[in-house]
């Protein structure tokens, strides 16, 4: 596996004399994975996202993106080109007056020739299935559609990593599904690396790997099923467990022994079937 991002012993605070928001954080992001970063409000997740693309710089430690160190002034643009962020509020990141203009914004800034730019816009907008909306104004779009346009604007710049910073938390269930589905397609079809900062644990359960943050520290890391196995720890820091897991934990307390924990209802019902046929 190829390492795209390496975060080494990073500490960060917004002002001197204020408490550290991140404390000695270390992590690595592999090419092509879907990494979920979970933690409650104020655990330092969003600060971490901003360090990963050089919007913020570490006070201690280093952030390396494909070998570029964010401390190095000449690297910063290399990093920002490689790491795109979709933020929480769909209304705060729409800069164009139409879908087309909005997607063009980043490309214009990179000084791309017009012909090439138009081609890139068409490609990117198609990938997020917004090609029928090219001339639409932002206020005619739903939250989910706006977030997909934000994703198009980012992938037009051909980044290697897209960070979703609670990008679905202001959307309704339909909008949330739409955006996650779009990102999953980009991951499968284009090999995009995705870092999803979220407190939707159902979503985290579908990630390849997850990281749990609390009070500025990484307190756990692993494949979701292993992390969820430590349910008490997650509950203690204010996160919920996916419903199938809650049912299994309650049944365990009543003396039923599951061979393995499951994160989907379908698997849970299968496990119950196995249990019942054993007895």
């Amino acid at each position: 596996m190829e390492e795209l991002i390496s975060v080494q012993n990073v500490s960060f605070r917004y002002q001197e004399e204020h408490p550290y928001v991140l404390k000695d954080v270390g992590l690595s992001v592999q090419k092509g994975e879907w990494l979920a970063i979970v933690g409650h409000n104020g655990s330092g997740k969003s600060t971490l996202a901003r360090l990963l693309n050089g919007l913020l710089l570490p006070e201690k430690g280093d952030v390396l993106v494909e070998g570029f160190n964010s401390r190095d002034e000449e690297s910063i643009w290399e990093i920002r080109r490689r790491v795109g962020i979709v933020f929480q509020n769909p209304d705060n990141q729409f800069v164009g007056t139409s879908v087309q203009d909005d997607v063009a914004f980043g490309l214009e800034n990179s000084g791309m020739p017009r012909e090439k730019m138009l081609k890139r816009i068409a490609e990117s907008v198609k990938k997020v299935r917004m090609e029928d909306f090219l001339d639409q104004e932002p206020h005619r779009l739903s939250g989910g559609q706006k977030q997909r346009v934000a994703i198009a604007g980012i992938i037009a710049l051909r980044p290697s990593i897209v960070i979703l910073d609670e990008a679905t938390s202001m959307l309704d269930p339909a909008g949330r599904k739409e955006v996650l589905q779009t990102m999953r397609e980009l991951k499968e079809e284009e090999g995009m690396t995705v870092i999803s900062i979220t407190h939707d644990l159902e979503e985290a359960a579908r990630a390849d790997r997850m990281i749990v943050m609390n009070a500025g520290e990484v307190i756990d890391e692993g494949v979701p099923v292993d992390v969820f196995e430590k349910g008490d720890m997650l509950e203690k820091i204010g996160l919920d467990l996916p419903f199938p897991l809650q049912v299994q934990r309650a049944l365990r307390e009543k003396g039923y022994d599951f061979s393995k924990l499951t994160l989907s209802q379908e698997e849970l019902v299968n496990e119950l079937w196995t249990l019942q046929s054993k007895s």
Partner: protein
């Protein structure tokens, strides 16, 4: 105060080419003390409907009776300010509306505006800051130094400070983490019971709808598509699917169990405990046989 909505219609941009019918023939009765939930997709008319309940929007046709206040199309209800004292609305992301220097000033702004004496308003603030889960040391602080979740609590205290008898909540937990969501919903439910409030909750969460509501309304394209208690609404998952809405996870689980084990189970299962009990019934019955 009982709320009765009769044949309510609302169109935006009336008389222009952009006219759009946002509400059509809404009939709804909310007896005093009810926990009423409104569900629907973005654009289904939920927000338009609740803005009629304190006179922020006027009906294009039909009427809204709230206690002895009557809002009718084409007529002016002269006592809107008095009505608004009774109907508190917690809008989406209410923390965006904080503006005062200190938290106390923000909380007492509404009551002072409605003529409550300063001392009494301050007493309310001191009591409310505890109720929303913060302590009195916060009162002198700036609301803008707080975390998003804390700011929301302060904004909610500001609405409660007006002692509304009807409390309208427009997606009050959007963007909060799971613990924050539980705490805020717990707070509203406690207030609903202790103060005998009429609570109207707009939400996308089927779990919250199932858990708290006396009555649920499902809106679609400006009209009411389904109406009833949780048991009734979630009994027909096909009708919900047709509206692209889900049933609560607990109900999904029951359906899966029924299908796999070819058994009939009670459908009004809206809590984890009830879902676990259903699983136990299956495991235990099968053991005995």
């Amino acid at each position: 105060m009982d709320i009765t909505v009769k044949e309510l219609e609302h169109s935006y941009n009336r008389g222009t080419p952009f006219e759009r019918n946002a509400l059509k023939n809404i009939n709804l009765s909310i007896p005093s003390g009810t926990f009423q939930t409104i569900i629907g997709h973005t654009g289904s008319g939920k927000s338009t409907l609740i803005q009629h309940l304190n006179g922020l929007l006027k009906p294009s046709a039909g009427s809204i009776q709230i206690g002895d206040f009557l809002i009718r199309a084409g007529e002016k209800e002269k006592r809107l300010k008095a009505l608004r004292k009774h109907v508190g609305i917690v809008f989406q992301y209410p923390e965006h509306q904080l503006f005062e220097e200190t938290i106390e000033k923000d909380i007492i702004f509404g009551p002072l505006n409605f003529g409550v004496p300063l001392e009494e308003a301050k007493q309310r603030a001191a009591k409310l800051i505890h109720q929303v889960g913060l302590d009195e040391s916060y009162l002198e602080r700036s609301p803008f130094d707080l975390s998003g979740g804390q700011m929301r609590r302060v904004a909610i205290a500001g609405v409660l400070a007006m002692k509304p008898s009807i409390l309208i909540l427009d997606e009050p937990t959007a963007g909060l983490d799971p613990r924050g969501r539980r705490e805020i919903m717990g707070l509203f439910y406690r207030l609903h019971q202790e103060e005998g409030l009429t609570t109207i909750l707009v939400t996308h969460s089927m779990e919250d709808a199932a858990h708290y509501s006396d009555n649920i309304v499902i809106m679609e394209k400006g009209g009411i598509a389904l109406q009833g208690n949780a048991e009734h609404i979630f009994a027909d998952s096909d009708a919900l699917k047709a509206l692209s809405l889900d049933v609560p996870e607990t109900v999904q689980f029951i359906h899966r169990l029924e299908e796999r084990f070819d058994r009939k189970l009670p459908h009004s299962v809206f809590s984890l405990d009830a879902a676990v009990d259903a699983a136990l019934t299956i495991l235990q019955k099968e053991e005995k046989s």
